[in-house]
């Protein structure tokens, strides 16, 4: 019977590892103590040696995948053991008896701190003959401790494999009382059905219990690829931000006709002088920066027990990239004149798309503008870039019939501006006053003046 190869625990605080390389292929033989696979944990790469001389019969965790400590990553058959590859291949999709791997004993060296103790199992009576789904030693231990039959737990992994999350979810359902996290949760009113709806309701934020992560199910013909570093960073940041800030979004409609006229009248001369195309973005940036001067609480960062009001406005401008998103920061944007803003934003965006930003150019932002408009969106509800407390989303500028001067209807260039703010620090009234100031600045832009 082949032995499990498990993800070793390389330190007390280490809960998972990424397999970076299998040094031996399925069917190849390996000598005891020779490198079997490499793992990466944080800033450490480790070579894991084979615990016995034998043949690698199965790789369960491919290169590039991250799994928790004690997960079975492959199986190795000892030298001389009668174990054909065909047999393994057959059993691949099939459930294997749960006790098979356990009584076998994990390789001692590959698993220096495995909680599994092979000897403790030996005297145990044989399990009833019931097909058991695949699982890791950790999950099997949880099953034993809670007296759960693994066959009762719906597995979401490949081939019905039962993951730790599956087990936790199962235990949650079975023991709702025991699963309640604590007194805070007990006071929580029933959560609204969809977490997203809280965004649009200016009011007290409702704590939403964090759902357990669901593993994606991969079907025949599906393609699975590891996440790029950028995608992982974005994913981590977005989730962290939603967990950190009490997001509320307030939406204002702004008449941009005056700005559009100013731009049309002064654009060519401006572009000749400044050397960059005059877009609407510097107008929004200028209005926001001026309004931030009036309402400094939106240009702040929130710590656990203190708030930092930033002296300068370091303006983040979100730039979409083919494979993600980056937010370069225009430092001390409040010290720039209009032309300096226009030049700075154009330069940062161009270099962001060329991948030529220096690391310090994407950090230290204090307020962010994002632009979900170009593909036709009316407005979005942006997620705050931590540790900032507000982000302004600029929708597309479109001509619309609007009621003006009493009862007249006119065609005006309109835009929706959506401000997501952290309700922990900023009250709805202040956020709306800020937005009213931005609106007023844009609608009353001095004729012919684009602040040279």
């Amino acid at each position: 019977m082949p032995s499990d190869i498990i993800m070793p625990q390389m330190g007390e605080s280490i809960t998972e590892g990424t397999i970076t390389k299998w040094r031996v292929g399925v069917g190849d033989t390996v000598e005891r103590d020779d490198p079997l696979f490499d793992i990466a944990t944080d800033k450490v790469d480790t070579e894991v040696p084979a615990a016995l001389t034998g043949r690698l019969v199965e790789i369960l965790v491919p290169e590039g995948e991250t799994v928790t400590v004690n997960t079975v990553v492959g199986r190795i058959a000892a030298e001389g053991e009668a174990w054909s590859l065909a047999e393994t291949a057959e059993s691949d999709g099939e459930p294997v008896p749960a006790d098979a791997a356990e009584t076998d004993g994990a390789p001692a060296e590959a698993a220096p701190e495995t909680p599994e103790s092979p000897s403790s199992e030996e005297g145990a009576p044989p399990e009833p003959v019931r097909r058991q789904p695949r699982s890791s030693p950790l999950v099997r231990r949880m099953a034993r401790e809670h007296g759960v039959d693994l066959a009762d737990v719906p597995g979401t992994g490949e081939g019905g494999r039962v993951s730790k999350q599956d087990m936790l979810a199962f235990l949650d359902r079975r023991e709702p009382a025991a699963a309640a996290p604590g007194p805070e949760a007990a006071e929580t009113p029933p959560a609204p059905p969809a977490a997203d709806t809280t965004d649009d309701v200016p009011g007290l934020p409702v704590p939403v219990p964090e759902p357990p992560p669901t593993a994606p199910v991969s079907l025949d013909g599906d393609r699975s690829e590891p996440l790029t570093h950028m995608r992982r960073s974005i994913a981590d940041h977005m989730v962290r931000s939603r967990r950190t800030s009490a997001h509320v979004t307030t939406v204002f409609e702004v008449d941009m006709s005056r700005v559009v006229a100013v731009r049309a009248a002064n654009g060519p001369a401006f572009e000749e002088r400044a050397g960059v195309r005059l877009t609407l973005m510097p107008f929004f940036a200028q209005a926001a920066i001026d309004a931030l001067g009036e309402f400094p609480v939106l240009n702040a960062s929130l710590g656990e027990d203190h708030v930092v009001y930033h002296r300068s406005v370091n303006l983040g401008v979100a730039v979409a990239l083919p494979d993600g998103l980056i937010v370069p920061v225009l430092r001390r944007a409040d010290e720039r004149n209009f032309m300096g803003l226009a030049r700075g934003i154009t330069d940062l965006a161009a270099r962001a798309r060329a991948g030529a930003l220096a690391p310090e150019e994407v950090q230290g932002g204090t307020f962010t503008i994002t632009n979900p408009g170009p593909f036709g969106a009316l407005f979005g509800t942006p997620i705050i870039a931590q540790p900032q407390v507000a982000i302004l989303g600029v929708g597309g500028v479109h001509k619309r019939p609007v009621v003006v001067d009493g009862d007249a209807i006119a065609v005006r260039s309109m835009v929706f501006l959506a401000l997501s703010f952290d309700h922990r620090l900023i009250d709805g009234a202040v956020a709306d006053q800020f937005m009213a100031s931005v609106k007023s600045r844009l609608e009353n832009w001095p004729e012919g003046d684009i602040k040279p």
Partner: protein
Amino acid sequence: MTPAPPLWRLDLRPLGYRAAWDFQRDLVERRQRDEIPDVLLLTEHPPVYTLGKSAHRENLLESPDALAGRGAEVVETDRGGDVTFHGPGQLVAYPIVHLGGWRKDVHAYLRALEAAAIDTAAGFGTAATRREGLTGVWCGAGGSPRKLASIGVRVSRWVASHGLAFNVTTDLGWFSHIVACGIRDAAATSLAAETGHAVPLDAVADRLADAFAEILGRRLVPAPDDLPMARANAGS
């Protein structure tokens, strides 16, 4: 009371990255066979960008050819971590340490490397700290974080190699061509940039060696002159 186990200190400066790597591999094998005690190799490399095993090539913001034009080599190496830079003015410490004789905990070892660098920075009047989840040593707590020292380690049969790169008078312009360690919000700094004056690399090496030995509970002694291969390999 038994005396603390020895830690051989070996200074080889400057030393090409590949030569140092070869030498480290040799030391690791000797350490695994218990032919030598733990060793602390202190060096300084000619300009080189290195990519760790988890490196993303997109974190090199220029092509290897363009970087070669600037006088820097690009090497794919086998330590943990992403992209980093080594070059003149940067103290590089490669401790070859058997973690089985210390603590079998690679994260605890990373924290020990950080502690040594933090102590060293403090010795020159610079406050440096850890950042949760971002291995390395940082200045500018509370404000904009700047990375003073980078860490990347390889462990083979519990023998650690690679280690710590500490910017002393490093020209920080080199870091603008990479996303250092794959962390986009990380600016690089140096002891010189933090203190406003140049600090001699020797003095930093002394302090770091003392701090590291103390944290690991080792007795710092000079490596024997006849440490085999030490100089033979140092040429390339």
